[in-house]
Every structure is written in structure tokens, then in C-alpha cells.
């Protein structure tokens, strides 16, 4: 069970051009938590996420997944534990058919034959995309691609699910479908998103990044009620917490409305 814990200690990342993307970031996410990492553009969210399964190495500081320190030698085990769903499904889907794409990870884990078939089918059924298995990924709609991208990661049986902007580019229906899917996963979940309404629905804990530093880490509801904090971090309340613009008296009494 300890595999489900993600811990960052004094993490810092400096890109080769000298840009300091993350400064002294520390947090601990425990088993079964659903955590959002939010922040304005360029706050360091994607850079931070890429550290969680070793796509980037910290300039200083540590990442621990469970009891395992992220190093080159522990990378294969950590990548099996931490499933990463990227922002653009087109970057994630690269095999000729959906089946082969979902089978890519399990094949690398050494699965074959009926075990492989079962693992792939389970993952596709879980995201409601089993009917797409013979299709080439580039023929799918945006929502379908996103579901298949999630299946490619689920097929590896990760303990922790990390998703970069899961609802970006989806229509309202596909977004809602994806959210109902995500809420059912029992994994430890870490999201980055600008969709703060989704964050409100799915994540009980939120970490705000601003200029590469953690500005707040606490219960989502509490953070979203702090107007001053949100404004300082170039964020806004989720739409569902802003009230209806048509019923709002101030809005209705404005000249011309």
C-alpha cells in the first residue's frame, strides 16, 4: 500500500537555459487522495508533473514514490507505479490500432497471450472504449482519444494516476463523462488543470503553484473561498462558486441589462 504515496522534498528544477521552473517544492500525497495542482500559465505545473515518473530529473531535492527514491535504477518500477496521462492524446497514441496502443505498456511489462488480451480488454471496457479496439487512433474524436489514452495507462495497472489537463479540449458532454469515469477510480490521483469546476468536483485537496513555488496546499473548498489568494496567483473562483450572472442583482440592475 505504501506504493501509493507520492512525496516531493525540496524539489527544484532549472532548465538548461537558466529558467527556474520549480523552487523548493515539498508535499506528501497519501493513499487514495485526489489532489489538484493548479496555477496560472507558466507556474510550473507540467514541469512538476513530469518529475513524478522520472520524465524530468530534479536539479536538487527528491521524489519518493512509497519508500522508493526516484533514481535511474528505480525508474522502471516507478513508471509501473505512476501512470501518466499526457495533455495531448496525440502524443500518447502512436501505434497503428487502439488495441496495439493499449497493449504497448503491458507488452513492455512482459505480458503476452491471454493475460495481455485480458488486461487490454479490461482497460478498454473500464473507459467504455472496447468498441474502438480495431480502429486507428487518429480516426477517433477528441473525447475518444482521451479515453483511449487513459486506457493505455490503466492497462499497466498503476497505483497512482497522474493526469495533465484531463478535460482540456473536450466538449461538455465528453467532459462530464470523463469526470464520472475519474471519480470511480480508486487510485491515488493527481491532476493539473485550469478547469477549476472539475477540480471542485473531483479533488478534496488542492495545491496552488505560483512562479514555481507552492502558495497554498489545503482543502479545495477552503482554497477556492480565499479571493485574495486566488487573485495573487492569477486565478479565479470556479464558475459554480461565482453564482449565476443572470440572477445576480448587481448584474441585473446594470444599465442595458
Amino acid at each position: 500500500m505504501s506504493h501509493h504515496i507520492v512525496e516531493a522534498r525540496n524539489l527544484q528544477h532549472v532548465y538548461p537555459d537558466g529558467t527556474i521552473a520549480i523552487k523548493d517544492v515539498s508535499f506528501r500525497i497519501t493513499h487514495g487522495e485526489s489532489v489538484a495542482i493548479i496555477g496560472a500559465n507558466g507556474a510550473g505545473k507540467s514541469t512538476l508533473l513530469q518529475h513524478l515518473n522520472g520524465c524530468l530529473y530534479p536539479t536538487s531535492g527528491q521524489i519518493r514514490i512509497g519508500d522508493t527514491l526516484l533514481t535511474k535504477s528505480t525508474l522502471p518500477d516507478i513508471r509501473r507505479t505512476v501512470g501518466m496521462v499526457f495533455q495531448y492524446p496525440d502524443d500518447q497514441l502512436f501505434m497503428p490500432t487502439v488495441f496495439e496502443d493499449v497493449a504497448f505498456g503491458p507488452l513492455n511489462q512482459g505480458l503476452s497471450g491471454s493475460d495481455l488480451e485480458r488486461r487490454v480488454t479490461e482497460a478498454l471496457v473500464q473507459v467504455g472504449a472496447d468498441h474502438l479496439r480495431t480502429k486507428p487512433p487518429y480516426h477517433l474524436s477528441g473525447g475518444e482519444k482521451k479515453r483511449v489514452a487513459i486506457a493505455t495507462v490503466l492497462a499497466m495497472s498503476p497505483d497512482i494516476l497522474v493526469m495533465d489537463e484531463p478535460t482540456s479540449g473536450l466538449d461538455p458532454f465528453a467532459r462530464r463523462q470523463l469526470m464520472s469515469l475519474l471519480v470511480e477510480f480508486k487510485h491515488t490521483k493527481i491532476f493539473t488543470s485550469h478547469d477549476l469546476d472539475m477540480v471542485l468536483d473531483l479533488c478534496h485537496r488542492t495545491i496552488i503553484l505560483h512562479d514555481g513555488m507552492i502558495m497554498a496546499d489545503g482543502p479545495t473548498g477552503e482554497i477556492f473561498r480565499n479571493d485574495a489568494l486566488l487573485a495573487a496567483c492569477r486565478l479565479e473562483k470556479p464558475l459554480s462558486m461565482q453564482g449565476c450572472p443572470l440572477c445576480n442583482t448587481d448584474y441585473a440592475t446594470k444599465p442595458g441589462n
Binding site: F94, P96, N108
Partner: protein
Amino acid sequence: MISINAAVIDLKRLDLLADGDSQIHALDSRAKVLVTLVFIVSVVSFGRYEIVRLLPFFAYPAVMIALAGLPPLYIARKIALVSPFILMVGLFNPLFDRDVLYQICQVQISGGWISLFSLLVRSLLTVSAAFILVGTTGFTAVCQALQRLGTPQVFTVQLLFLHRYILVLADETGRASRARELRSCGKKGLGVASFGSLTGHLLLRTWLQAERIHTAMLARGFTGKFHVPRQSRFSADDILFVLGWSLLFISLRAADISDIIGALFS
């Protein structure tokens, strides 16, 4: 840029053909790679002026296309796309090699024309064999077969990445050309100058996307080895397939079948 996008879809179709379930598709990928290699070596080892003895080799693509149920017109179109490059290679043969080899009535045919035609025939045969191999096996499985036959992994993985990169580059080219076209209002835009910058951007963008794809592959446990779900073994059918075709190709190469057939009837 509809033509570029259509070309990309057309290219991807070749890989999709490999999902067929004919008896040729079911053969081990190594068997098909070996037969294709023997075929290509046999064809290219003929002399530069040879044409007639190459003709029986057309039996191989014809039989394979029929048995595998590949769309013949699609394969023909793919080969036609390559033919201008072949013509460019042999373009100067008729200019440099002017020795007359044949004379039909008053028409003198020089060695250059014969060698150009021979080059064309050999290219048609070898290119069609390569397309048939990919169309019945899939590029990933071909690379894996090469690896299992002893090709160093570093080469096969490079081939796989090249294949993927071509698709990424073609996709990006389609998008960039469309964006340029839409803003050039039916005119030439900034002409050649804009193409210079566009090509630079394409290179950088595809590079970045290729890096993201590589990252996604690493995240899913990629360690440099490619696996295919259909892990076949060499069966009696595969041995028969390799021996049958290889013997035929070697016989056609060693003996002049037209002479033998001619001797039978004379």
C-alpha cells in the same frame, strides 16, 4: 493542404493492411522478411542489360497480392509514386551509354535505354516486394523480425523511430501548409521566403512533438525493445514458404527459364 493530409492517411493505410487475416498475414514475419531478401538479392544481381529474365519474377508480387487480398490498385499507386525517383537515377544512362545493342528494323536501341528499362523493371519488382512485406506484416513486425534475425537493435529501433517521425512530420506539414494557405488569400503568400521559415518551424515543432512521444513511450515502460502482440513461431508452413519461394528465385536466377521453355518446344 488536402493533398498532404490525404497522403498521410494513404501512408497509414499501408500499416492497417497488415491487420488482415489471410494465410500470408498469418505467416511468421521472419519468413516473409527472408523471402523478400532472397527475392531482392536475386533481382538486383542480374546484369545491367537484363530484362527478359526478370519478367518471371513478377509472379511473386502477383501471387502474394492475390493470396493476401491486398488492394492491387493501391499498391500500384504507391509504386507509381516512387517511379519518378527511379527515372531520375537512370535518366543519364541513354546519354552516356550510346553503344547500340539491338536493332529492330531501322530503330537502333542503345545500351543506355536497355539499362534504364532494366533498372525500372528491377525497381518495380523490389519496391512492390517491400510494399507487400509491410502490407502483410506491418512495419513494427518487420523491424522486430529483422532484430530476431540478428540485426542490431540500435538499427531496428532507429528504423521504427524514423517511421514514426515521418508520420509526425507529415501531420505537422499538413497543418502548417493549411495555415499558410489560409492566410495567403489564394496568392503566393511571401513566396520562397515564407517557406524557409515554415520549414525551420516544422523541424522544431516535429522535434518537440517527437520528444513528447518519446517521453510518453518511456512513461509506459519502453526500454528500447519493441514488442508485438502477435508473437509467432516458425512453423512448417513458414519453412515451406521460405524454401518454396527461395528455390524458385534461385532457380530463376541460375537458369534461363525462357531458354529452357524454348528448348522444350523446339
